[in-house]
Amino acid sequence: MSKEILIVDDSPSVRRMVSMTLQQAGYAVTEAVDGAKGLEAAKAHRYAMVITDQNMPNMTGLEFIQAYRADPSSSGVPIIFLSTESEGGLKEAARAAGALGWMVKPFEQEQLLAVVKKVAG
């Protein structure tokens, strides 16, 4: 059984890049176009790992993490936070909200794969 990973991002190109990279590496990928949809998906199914963007309409990545972590089913599910902003404040906020790690966009496929392998196994 391949491990299932949820990618929450409003950018189709990022979602596609993440999906392709991870599927090639043998993961199953579910895509969600924004935080609200992502929250729905994450609550409905336990993923091996969740990757979320920060800048999204309706619900930011940070809000998504806070909302998801408020749900007990999120316990033990690692979340990786994607952001174009590398300033410490946001990173720390994401960490405090319950993200396990973060990546700065843009990133290479290899970088992504390394992170996913490390986190989801």
Partner: protein, 670 residues
């Protein structure tokens, strides 16, 4: 810096040496002329110096070097023990004790005491030997030998999907195979108070110094602020008083990577030692308690055999059933007790790696130090007693064996030399080899020196292998210079003594220009061995089963022979044969079903003609009395199930007897 456990071992060792030192000094106060005690004091100092240098106590080593010089003067008769010397020496002892405990006494004290020691042994006391470490260690910023990393993950780490195991794996990946990971369990609450989602364990990870600090920090990226993390560089050599360039990393409050300071290593020591009890979930038991258990297990095995004999006579099924159970339990108990005493050689390898590192620095020679078979297990006492000889031999290989890079290049060798330490089990022995690819030994020089020293006479016709062994004789040392590490010719005899005390042998093979191999063969001197019980006449003898290779029917053509020795052909090889009946002068008539037991040691074999093969047994080795211990053919005695005593045959000796026969036969043939 070595790990806390190794530190602890060093500490215990140093304590014992310090005790011997103090006692020796106090005895000398009463009997100043006792040269044996002087030698004992000298030896204690020498070992403290050597191990101290190896464990990074450089100030201590340098001071003890001068202390030792004073007693060298006494030992060589240039000076005498005076009350004044003893007083100064005792004060010096206190300084060493303080340094060992990680204290930082005023450095002026070292000089003051060194001068006082020199004054006390003056007359014609030599100028105190120049402080060795200071001059030999280049005054460059200290190289980072290891990173001592300690961390406790954020309390919510599991909750947010983190995987501590993956993190440790990642650290192992960063650090390579020498990475050491230890749990820190000091904050474990009682089970009732545990929250399954919280990590209570911390970890200590020792990583090689070659790694960049940033690579380590990367592993914790994103969590650093939420966790406790300390990354301390551990310096190889005593740092010169130059501020070390801080590794380019964002400094963290918890991980103030301390700049090097002169006493960095000494200061680290107590810290590491303090962390040890929490980190190591092991039980430290006094060795004599284990010995006591071993003794009692030995007695139990004998009693069990007697019980079995009685049960067999009575033919009582119920009793036999119980006997079988007891037998199984006794054997299990024996094995687990022996396992208690078995220690892999790896437990002392850390020192050798450190030693090779230090040697590379002090000698300026570049070489690879390779260890093979460090998982080989030996009785703990054997391992302990091996340490000093091995230290000496490795030093010797580097100091005298390996050439400098230029010489190597000139003789067409790769610039990096090679020193290899390999260990393996071979039958009832452990074979340890110290191999170098250096210049090899100069037989002529050794012969000449041995003659000078009165170890050989001009006309003695001694084979090459024996000449080479002369380097192990007391007082034989071809090194002209006295170095901090190699010392003053103490040690070579220590090697020989220690190996002989373990009933082992040393062989030296050396090819000029190609290198030298020291081969140590050590019997697995354990208190209980599997034995093969044989009968010769009415007597029974035991052989270590591991050295028995084959048992054959005695060929007819040999059956009638009455000489003590003979040869048989075995797999196209002539094997000398000893008729034990004749060797032991047993006059009872020979059995009609005599057998030959082929035993081997040192890759050579000898056949033993016996009357009867009785079977295997648990041989509990009892030492022979001093009166009988000179009978080399027996290595001990054992008590059999019926209460009789059987002597244990010494296979190494039997094999050498066989070789003598072979030589003799060859001689007559020629």
């Amino acid at each position: 810096m070595m790990d806390a456990e190794t530190q602890e071992i060093f500490r215990q060792e140093a304590e014992a040496l310090m005790e011997a030192l103090q006692e020796g000094l106090l005895v000398l106060k009463e009997t100043p002329d006792d040269l044996e005690v002087v030698a004992g004091v000298f030896r204690a100092l020498h070992t403290i110096k050597g191990t101290g240098a190896m464990f990074g106590f450089s100030r201590l080593a340098s001071f003890v070097h001068n202390f030792e010089a004073a007693f060298e003067a006494v030992r060589s008769g240039k000076s005498v023990v005076t009350p004044e010397l003893i007083n100064v020496a005792l004060t010096a002892y206190d300084l060493i004790a303080e340094l060992l405990e990680g204290g930082e006494p005023d450095p002026a004290k070292d000089e003051e005491l060194t001068a006082a020691l020199a004054a006390a042994t003056s007359g014609e006391a030599p100028a105190p030997a120049a402080a060795p470490t200071a001059s030999e260690v280049p005054a460059a910023p200290a190289e980072i030998k290891e990173w001592d990393l300690q961390f406790r993950l954020p309390p919510d780490f599991m909750e947010i999907g983190g995987n501590p195991i993956a993190m440790l794996d990642e650290l192992r990946e960063v650090g390579g195979e020498t990475t050491i990971v230890r749990p820190l369990t000091d904050r474990l609450p009682s089970i009732a108070q545990m929250d399954t989602k919280v990590i209570y364990t911390g970890w200590q990870v020792i990583l090689p110094g070659a790694i960049k600090e940033n690579a380590i920090r990367d592993v914790f990226m994103f969590h650093e602020d939420q966790m406790e993390l300390s990354i301390e560089p551990v310096h190889a050599a005593p740092a010169a008083p130059v501020a070390e360039p801080e590794p380019a990393a964002a400094p963290l409050a918890e991980a103030a990577a301390a700049p090097a300071e002169p006493a960095a290593t000494a200061k680290d020591a107590p810290k590491a030692a303090k962390a040890a009890p929490a980190a190591v979930a092991q039980l430290r038991v006094a060795a004599d308690r284990v010995d006591l258990i071993m003794d009692r297990v030995g007695e139990l095995v004998i009693a069990e055999a007697r019980l079995a004999a009685i049960a067999n006579q009575l033919e009582n099924e119920a009793l036999l059933g119980v006997v079988e159970d007891i037998q199984r339990l006794a054997l299990g108990l024996r094995d687990s007790t022996m396992a208690l005493r078995m220690t892999p050689l790896s437990s002392i390898m850390g020192r050798f790696r450190r030693l090779s590192h230090d040697l590379a620095e002090t000698t300026g020679k570049t070489f690879d130090f390779i260890v093979e078979g460090e998982e080989t297990e030996l009785d703990k006492t054997v391992v302990e007693k091996l340490t000093d000889p091995l230290v000496h031999m490795i030093r010797n290989s580097v100091d005298h064996g390996l050439e400098g890079p230029e010489d190597r290049a000139a003789s067409g060798k790769p610039e990096r030399g090679l020193v290899k330490l390999s260990a393996r089990h071979a039958g009832a022995e452990v074979v340890i080899e110290i191999i170098d690819d250096g210049r090899g030994m100069n037989e002529e020089a050794i012969r000449k020196r041995a003659i000078e020293r009165g170890l050989l006479t001009e006309d003695s016709d001694v084979p090459r292998s024996e000449v080479l062994k002369m380097v192990l004789e007391p007082g034989f040392s071809t090194a002209a210079a006295v170095t901090a590490l190699s010392g003053r010719g103490v040690g070579a005899d220590v090697v020989k003594q220690a190996i002989e005390a373990l009933n082992g042998t040393i062989e030296i093979t050396s090819e000029p220009g190609e290198g030298t191999v020291f081969t140590l063969r050590l019997p697995l001197t354990l208190a209980i061995i599997e034995g093969l019980l044989i009968g010769v006449g009415k007597e029974r003898y035991a052989l270590p089963l591991l050295s028995v290779e084959q048992i054959l029917e005695l060929p007819e053509e040999l059956a009638g022979g009455t000489s003590a020795t003979d040869v048989i052909e075995l797999n196209n090889e002539l094997v000398p044969v000893l008729r034990l009946r004749q060797v032991f002068n047993r006059d009872a008539s020979a059995s009609t079903h005599q057998k030959i037991v082929i035993v081997g040691a040192n890759d050579t074999r000898v056949g033993l003609v016996v009357d009867e093969i009785i079977g295997t047994n648990q041989t509990v080795i009892k030492q022979l009395s001093p009166l009988h211990s000179r009978l080399k053919i027996f290595s001990g005695a054992t008590i059999l199930g019926d209460g009789c005593v059987a002597l244990i045959l010494d296979v190494i000796h039997l094999v050498s007897l066989g070789q003598e026969i072979e030589q003799r036969l060859k001689g007559t043939a020629a």
